[in-house]
Amino acid sequence: MGLLGLFDKLMAAVEAIFEGVAEAAGAVEGAAAGAAAGAKVPPATPPASPTKKAGDPVAPCPLKKTKKKRKVIKITAKILATRSLHPPVRRIRDLKKLRSSTSTDATLAGNKPIILVRGCNVLRLTAQTSPPGELVTWEVKPNENTESAPGFTTEKGNTIKLGTDKIGSFSVTATLDGTKVIWNVVFVWVKVNAASTVVKFNQSFAAGQTSADANFTSFAAGQFARGQNAMEATVSVNLIGGGTDGKRGLEQIKLGYLQDGTADTLTGHYDSAPGGGTGAETVVRPGTKTPAPFPVVDAQGPPAGAGEPVVPAEEGGEMSPISTTDARIVQVTDKPAGAKGKNVEFWLGDSPVGSFARRHPKTKAFLTSITGNNSFRAAVGSFSLEAPQAVCAHADISWVEDYAGTVTPPPAATGVFTPAAGTHVTSGAAFALISDATGGSDAFDAGFELFAPRFNHSLITVFTP
């Protein structure tokens, strides 16, 4: 060994001594901070004693300390995607991974928070350490926020499950031996003012959706234009996000119209002599004649915009289960700002249609009357553009369209529909809050089906006889 080798060994020995002092100091500092905060969750087990691992350099000298400094290097986050209500279990495709953090900056400006909807699905955070598998201490604190911090529970290893029920901005800190990583988050409260609800109906079947030709008769109250839909509902919503003004992150939140069909008793009666029979509108499992269980999603075609939630469509490709931008059925209009956050007016409208073949395929009798209804459950829904796989529901309203009426038999050239006298479209008088304590919940937890079959696509007429 030359002089140079001896110098290296001496330096390594000095370095090891300094590392040991620093670690001891870090441990004392961490313990003191934990006691003061009273909210930290310490590692489930004491830190493991330094052990030699495969690939570790072999110290040529007893003075050389082999243990590396332990540190937390990253927090990753994952949110459980909204799942189907009916089996098999399907989940909205993860379009976006939640942003991870390696930052030690607590500020919302310097360490950009992830934006989520309050009340959204289970959120799991995992700390990565060096060396891997070292247990960290977790702490969650309000950040530019006077709300109390959400609770969390420790799961396996360095993973915690974080509550999503609180409002505003928070910092989640993972600490290990005096090192830390901070992951900031904003839970935006979609606060529906149910008392502001106004529902409006169009009972007229006079417009263009009610039509007849030689082969089919269609009938509907209203038209797909604002002010003319069969059912429309307006409600005020206050969005409260992060920061002291409640405005941080609001641009990431999209409100939308969720709707499920909840029952379908629509029946065509073929009572012209000498035939007879009925035809029952039936939602079926895709590609089968098996009736699908209710509720069934009532959503339109392809996704309205990039980065929005998508589920597989029956006909192939994907479709959005929540309508956000189609001005024919949903509009979100900014209102004058309130004390905190942002105010919007949420409007939705729908004009469902019934339709039957004019002749019974077996008895050849003509369509003469219609009974039954389509029932729906509509909701103010939302998602964050940073987590479009998690769709939330905040307030719902049930409504029904009754299609009772008569249809002209031959000698009329076409089967013209005439609605029965009376009210055809009815609903609750106001939106009802879903999971008020958390400002809403995941759409699955709220009992909404977002996956095919669709109410407006997978339909057949089941004829009797």
Binding site: E315, G316, G338
Partner: protein
């Protein structure tokens, strides 16, 4: 490919929006996904309503997209292509944007019409004209009021949307136009209810302005509308609009909020006028808890003494 909207006025603000009456010469189905019928309509321009469409008599191509199955088509009527026959000879009134080629057009809104002089054609032309008038000018105010009071469904619909959701006029002007339109005898009840919705919309009723003259006029206009519609269901809807205004969070100070609510309802009168009182009595006895809450809130506001007038 775009859906087709039934609402003819929905896409007027899009860059390059044009409108015309087209006669279908031929429907040419193209490659489609299973369950879909997509292709091109070869059309002859019958009449140019607005914008640089090819002249009448020229041929253009317009893409369409609809469901293949008639039953599924009827049920997916939000895309209006699904409700159109698209037979050779049919006339379509379409709002289009330019396509890739001068003869290709993207249809955004449209409907079948019986003739090139269908009232919807004139209504659409008037809607385009209303867009060109100077904001806040007297000609604009007169034209919007005429459209609101007029018999043309398309122009009336456009005028209401322009006032309530496109910022065509100021808040005060919006309130004034709607109140004056609601006074017209010839207005149908469904339109009165729609205009009442306009008075309660964010374009007119602003809670930050508390009981300012515009908010007071909006509330008074809503109350007057209750007496102008015949159907009890329409009266109920108007009172719900009224309640949605009066029950706003006007102030974090409960006393101030109570004062504002009292000032608003007393702008209607010292007590609810008879048609409104009848509806409130029915709401108070309703099975709907939210309607009972509305009736109670309005009654409480009336029971609060009116604030002293400003000196």
């Amino acid at each position: 490919m775009h859906d087709l909207a039934y609402d003819l006025t929905l896409h007027l603000r899009e860059p390059g929006a044009c409108a015309g009456v087209f006669r279908i010469v031929e429907r040419v189905p193209g490659p489609s996904l299973p369950g879909w019928d997509e292709g091109t309509l070869r059309c002859r321009v019958e009449r140019v309503v607005n914008g640089p469409l090819p002249a009448a008599g020229r041929m253009v191509s317009v893409g369409y997209s609809r469901k293949a199955e008639p039953l599924s088509r009827a049920k997916s009527s939000v895309n209006h292509w699904n409700l159109l026959d698209l037979a050779a000879g049919d006339l379509l009134l379409l709002v289009c944007t330019p396509g890739a080629d001068p003869t290709d057009w993207n249809a955004r809104s449209g409907n079948q019409v019986a003739a090139a002089d269908d009232p919807a054609v004139a209504g659409l032309a008037e809607s385009f004209r209303l867009r060109t008038l100077e904001k806040g000018s007297e000609p604009q105010q007169l034209a919007l009021l005429a459209a609101l009071r007029g018999a043309n469904d398309v122009a009336r619909h456009f005028a209401l949307e322009a006032i309530c959701r496109q910022g065509a006029v100021s808040r005060r002007e919006a309130c004034d136009l709607l109140v004056r339109a609601l006074e017209a005898d010839a207005l149908a009840d469904p339109d009165r209810v729609r205009f009442a919705g306009g008075l309660a919309s964010a374009a007119v009723f602003d809670p930050r302005e508390k009981d300012d003259p515009v908010n007071r006029a909006a509330v008074a206009g809503l109350a007057a509308t209750v007496g102008r519609v015949a159907d009890p269901a329409d009266r109920l809807t108007c009172v719900r609009y009224l309640a949605s205004c009066v029950r706003q969070d006007f102030s974090e100070n409960p006393g101030e909020a109570t004062r504002v609510r009292a000032a608003l309802v007393h702008a209607i009168g010292p007590v609810p006028p008879p048609p409104l009182a009848d509806t409130l009595a029915k709401m108070a006895a309703s099975n709907e808890a939210s309607d009972r809450d509305r009736a109670a809130a309005l009654a409480a506001a009336w029971q609060t003494p009116p604030p002293a007038a400003n000196p």
